[in-house]
């Protein structure tokens, strides 16, 4: 029933859109058209690579509402005071020179029959291939007492920018000896900005400015990525400040009251001074609107990131359900290149090379104490499957940890140049 209704509404909206704007952008010439929705690590990379490699043979349109994109990666470092917010903001100014037509608007719907994307500003954009890379949205009702109307009292800071600054301001305004709480998300979650790196950055700030403050983390999980590395780092740098309450200790039984500024963990009510709620996540809205999702995410074919639902619609990054890769910007960037190669091949007959993927995630625990985890992946019939991997070891020397952090700074410069030109 739900499917039918959605389909019906979708077509009706598209029909009226194409009546009001019959000659949409890109129509009326012979070039194949690619539309990309979402200008983050997946979408910006895919748009740029398709435009660059097709050398003008493909018409590429990127739909992205914001003019300045703040990267989620390194946004935790803003909270810790290692970066300022401007340093993680990027414009799309160089995309046009790279052959990408950037439209700053919201994509409000997809008509897969008519092959058009509707825009909030009116009209629609036709496509031959559609790439959706909308990041994440939150699952309604995931944390009792929290919804989008309370996101300013208890920020998620899981979309970088004003939310990041808001959370930072609230941490800076905490009274001496106050309490910071985080409600951590269940798997799978976008990372970066990793919750545990974020806790490290909050602790770094508090250690230097509010050393008697406390941090509590209510976590629905019993363990998390780099668990040992973080536990070791927290003990070394922030002894006694951080209280992590995993699911074995009731961390999965949590509710918040944004008016009273309280967090209730397994029945115990705590008054808090700043609270970061990171609810369960799902694919960005447009992926659901396009009806290429199953449950929370959009299942894709590992070989080219095309959706199981529609061979002409691709989903990259956080929104996709692809197998073993984490929901990181590095992953999205890696998937975008495989997708770009396949899309270009399908539209222009260019050579399609085998899919290879990789990911590395760096985290900063304290000044010059960086750790990393990474893996390489290949496409199988079922999924993107992990081939090989590595992780920083506990007890590593200070030089190596410093080098790891410096490497992450180099990676940041590299990936943002790769995304935005």
């Amino acid at each position: 029933m739900k499917l039918n209704r959605r389909l019906f509404l979708g077509s009706a909206a598209a029909a009226s859109a194409s009546l009001s704007a019959p000659m949409a952008m890109g129509a009326g010439h012979g070039k194949p058209r690619v539309v990309v929705v979402g200008g983050g690590a997946g979408g910006a990379t895919a748009a740029r690579y398709i435009a660059k490699d097709s050398k003008g043979e493909i018409d590429v349109t990127l739909i992205e509402p914001t003019r300045t994109y703040y990267t989620c990666f390194f946004s935790n470092l803003v909270i810790g005071g290692f970066r300022d917010i401007q340093s993680i903001g990027h414009s799309y100014g160089k995309m046009a020179a790279g052959g990408v037509n950037v439209v700053h608007d919201w994509a409000t719907g997809v008509d897969r029959d008519a092959k058009t994307v509707a825009l909030a500003g009116g009209g629609s954009v036709p496509y031959d291939k559609l790439i959706l890379s909308p990041g994440i949205d939150f699952v309604d009702g995931a944390v009792e007492g929290w919804d989008l109307s309370t996101q300013n009292a208890m920020p998620h800071a899981y979309k970088a920018g004003s939310q990041t600054e808001l959370l930072k301001a609230q941490i800076m305004a905490m009274p001496q000896g106050g309490t910071f709480a985080m409600v951590a998300p269940p798997n799978p979650f976008r990372c970066p900005p990793g919750p545990y790196e974020r806790v490290s950055m909050v602790a770094h700030y508090l250690k230097n400015n509010n050393p008697t403050a406390k941090i509590i983390i209510a976590d629905p999980k019993a363990k998390f990525s780099k668990f040992g590395l973080f536990q070791e780092g927290w003990a070394n740098h922030y002894g006694g400040m951080i209280d992590w309450i995993g699911s074995d200790f009731g961390g999965d039984n949590v509710s918040v009251d944004a008016g009273a500024m309280t967090v209730t963990i397994d029945g115990e009510v705590t008054k808090v001074d700043a609270c970061n709620v990171i609810p369960a996540m799902k694919a960005g809205k447009i992926a659901h609107d396009a009806d290429v999702t199953e449950g929370n995410w959009a299942p894709v074919n590992a070989i080219d990131m095309s959706t199981k639902a529609d061979a002409d619609v691709y989903v990259l990054g956080d929104s996709s359900s692809q197998g073993d890769m984490p929901k990181s910007g590095f992953s999205a960037n890696s998937q975008a290149k495989v997708c770009a190669n396949a899309v270009r091949g399908a539209l222009t007959g260019s050579k399609v090379f085998p899919a290879k993927f990789s990911n590395t995630c760096w985290s900063l625990i304290d000044t010059n104490d960086g750790v990393k985890v990474g893996a390489s992946y290949e496409a199988t019939d079922e999924k993107i499957a992990k081939v090989d991997g590595f992780i920083s070891a506990t007890g590593e020397g200070a030089d190596l940890r410093k080098a790891t952090y410096e490497e992450s700074v180099g990676w940041y410069a590299g990936i943002t140049a790769d995304m935005f030109g």
């Binding site: 890696s334 090379f353 990789s358 090989d388 590595f390 180099g410 590299g414």
Partner: protein
């Protein structure tokens, strides 16, 4: 800005390292061992050629960024134009912390923190400035422990640059195509042979870096040759 920065850096360099280097008497044999850290990129001695970095014969007294046939960074050329000449003091300062002395030079080297190492290295390099042909350092030239075990056939493979361009997507997440370097080395414009040797060293886990060992580990000989061809052609 660059001018003033360089001037300040040079001045500090002279003050901090003059005494130590001028008084210290380096041991060229020990310096030859220190030079192993440089050998991945620099050649010195008879028949030395430009590799990833320029050859280092006759270094002392030369103006920075002026050797024929080597493509210097803009930063290095500018430093030379601003009057930087390689001497005991300036070389010592540069190798102590290359990024602090000439920001944005191509030299991706963390630096020699120990004064003794710098003094010995200078003594060693000096021997190639007085008379490059005369010095033979058997010990050092015989050392090949860092290189990978490679068939001549693997080195002779000619890569497909188009395939290399596709594969390079994986590299470009970290390494910038502009040749920029902010903590991750530039790999643009390397001689193909050096590129191939470096990648096989990672693949065979002779070079210690987990990300590079993983990335190189899954590449075939042909794929490494293709990447080498692509990055060599990139300017």
């Amino acid at each position: 800005m660059i001018l003033r920065h360089l001037f300040t850096a040079t001045l500090i360099g002279v003050i901090t390292s003059f005494g130590a280097v001028a008084d210290g008497i380096g041991d060229p044999k020990k310096g030859a061992k220190v030079f192993k850290k440089c050998k991945a990129c620099h050649q010195v001695g008879e028949g030395a050629k430009h590799r990833v970095g320029p050859q280092l014969n006759g270094l002392f007294g030369r103006t920075a960024g002026t050797l024929e046939g080597f493509k210097y960074s803009k930063a290095m050329t500018t430093a030379g134009e601003d009057g930087l000449v390689w001497t005991d003091e300036t070389i010592a300062e540069f190798v102590e912390n290359p990024k602090a002395f000439i920001p944005k030079s191509k030299m991706s080297f963390k630096g020699l923190k120990k004064e003794k190492d710098r003094v010995n290295l200078l003594a060693y390099l000096q021997t190639f400035s007085d008379n490059p042909q005369a010095v033979i350092l058997e010990e050092v030239d015989a050392d090949t422990t860092d290189g990978p075990a490679l068939d001549a056939a693997v080195l002779a493979l000619v890569g497909d640059a188009e395939y290399g361009e596709y594969l390079s997507g994986d590299c470009k997440t970290c390494h910038q195509t502009s040749g920029g370097d902010d903590g991750i080395p530039s790999i643009v414009g390397w001689p193909t042979e050096d590129f191939v040797i470096a990648m096989h060293s990672y693949k065979q886990k002779r070079r210690p870096h987990p990300v590079m060992q993983m990335m190189a580990g899954r590449l075939s000989d042909e794929e490494i040759a293709s990447l080498a061809a692509y990055f060599n052609a990139l300017q």
